[in-house]
């Protein structure tokens, strides 16, 4: 019989890094040490632990990483709790890639970029940001506004401090919700900070975070003079198949798993707000 898209391959977790109290980053390769498949930034993969369940995760690592894939995963449900309790060497199953990904070779190319993330929302953006770093000549200035509840909840803090901040024409703006000992950076919510930084409106913006953050940040961007056609985001929905057949992630005439998860804000306006 021919290959069935729903039957996964085996992957091995070769590294687990604790990013925050509830986020860990898992490195996954095939048993013979290769990447399970190639992907584009913003695409997703189905990870599963037999007997526990299967769930869709954004691929956090950049496609330019030729050695492995990484997934930054927040502990919040059944599968994620199990993953948080496992150890290096654990096998999982993996299938993908799913979804459209960010238009890095089209709409983003040659543009000045603005990335805005809240909390675990940085995970899907990390893939694009590192892709842009690896193809630096293809993109202009990069601004990154990233906020989380506290200093300890900033995902990939080490990479941000040691690598992103030192990249040419990269401006990194970090913020946390409340003052904290040992933090001398900005304090306040992301939407307000975006307005305060007053980023030029020639940027193509990419938004990812909790729905409430997306809502108010979009409002802030529009107030700054951005158009909805300049702003991209990536959606989250419950998924089972990943290939537009199981019906679960159907919103309007779109399937988040295959027509998304990346949408432009003006495209979302044409969809029922059921996401």
């Amino acid at each position: 019989m021919t290959n069935e898209a729903l039957i996964p391959v085996v992957g091995v977790i070769t590294d687990i890094r604790r990013d925050t109290p509830d986020v860990k980053t898992f490195r996954v390769v095939t048993p013979d040490g290769k990447k399970a498949f190639e992907h584009m930034p913003g695409q997703c993969a189905m990870l599963s632990i037999p007997g526990v369940g299967e769930a869709m995760f954004s691929i956090t690592s950049s496609p330019t990483n030729t050695e492995f894939m990484e997934f930054s995963i927040k502990k919040c449900g059944c599968v994620t709790s199990w993953l948080h309790s496992c150890e290096v060497g654990q096998m999982v199953t993996i299938r993908g890639p799913y979804g459209n990904g960010f238009p890095v070779t089209k709409d983003f190319k040659g543009k000045n970029l603005l990335f805005i993330a809240g909390g675990i929302g940085l995970a899907p953006l990390r893939s694009v940001i590192n892709y842009v770093r690896a193809n630096r000549a293809d993109y202009g200035t990069v601004d990154i506004v990233y906020g989380s509840r506290s200093m300890d909840d900033l995902v990939d803090f080490k990479e941000i401090q040691e690598e992103w901040k030192n990249e040419k024409d990269f401006n990194v703006y970090l913020t946390i919700d409340r003052p904290q000992e040992g933090w001398d950076g900005h304090v306040g919510f992301v939407p307000a900070y975006v307005k305060e930084v007053n980023i030029p409106t020639d940027r193509t913006a990419v938004l990812c975070g909790p729905p409430i953050m997306i809502k108010f940040t979009l409002q802030a961007l529009l107030e700054l003079g951005f158009e909805k056609t300049q702003v991209f985001t990536t959606l989250e929905f419950r998924m089972k198949c990943g290939i537009g057949k199981c019906g679960r992630c159907n919103v309007g005439d779109k399937y988040i798993c295959k027509d998304g998860p990346v949408f432009r804000m003006d495209q979302l306006e044409e969809l029922p707000s059921e996401y």
Binding site: E4, V9, G244, K245, N250, D253, E274
Partner: protein, 339 residues
Amino acid sequence: MKKIALSNIDLLYKEIAGAQELYLPVKVAGATNFKKFEDGVEVDIKSLQTVKSAKDLFFPQSEDMMEFKTSGKSIEVIDARKKAEPFVLFGVRGCDLKSFEVLDKVFLAEPVDTMYQAKREAVTVVTLACNNPETSCFCKVFGVDASNPKGDVQATIVSDEMHFEALTEKGEKLLSSLKCLEDCEGKGVEEEKAQIKEKIDALPFVNLDLTNFKGENLMELFNRPEWEELSKACLGCGTCTFVCPTCQCFDIRDFQTNAGVKRFRCWDSCMYSEFTKMAAENPRKNQMQRYRQRFMHKLCYFPSNNDGEYGCVGCGRCVKKCPQSLNIVKVIKKLGGNK
């Protein structure tokens, strides 16, 4: 054309079943459904409609996909897809045949669903014209001609005989292999079809107007205030989705066995609150939203993605089975009206 006297039809079933598996309407404990033909079963070929549709044969209610052997930290994936053997599906009505086309658009779209595809390729479908359509039937609204249901072989009952016409190579092969059939001219078939058409035109729901249901009206239809009233009595039981020939939503689940873990898929329903529930939140929080999703999908989202083809075939099962008397006819009347 070929024919057989209804009094001898058991010979036909036996001859087909002698060569390959035969599925046809069988009555068990008062309910008629597509079941495998075996000696002693009560075939109910004249019953207009099975309780569940024939989609079971291609998209079973539950189907094993793979198995996992786990030991310590390691996992082995074992393909558990079953090979599909050729089979005959006999007595399919026009609406159910049309539903296969709807399901094809989902499961045979790239990437192809190989489990569904294998069974679709293995089947020879013998349809049966509907001599006595019921008041709950509205297949004509969706372009189905119940007097001419098509398929590989099309059968028509004319008084006490069943006439057969092969429409495909597969159908030709089946008919020519059957020794119990006798050649005929198909006398009375056309007259019977004309009578069926007349009966269909006199049915109460044939004038439902679908013109409003199209992609361009997506947001307008979605925001209609009538959804509240239409969905008020919905219990969220999911009966409509389980008897529906075109509902194709599924779940993928794991089952622990003594030997390891089995991963299977099974029918699911967008009418259930768990359907879209995530760890953090649920985008469809109330029954009105779930009810609206089901009908919007069939009448607007599906045609928007499939060149205007609707995700309903007018079989009327939801009309008969909803415990609260809610159904797609009421939705069409309210939001589309009559012609």
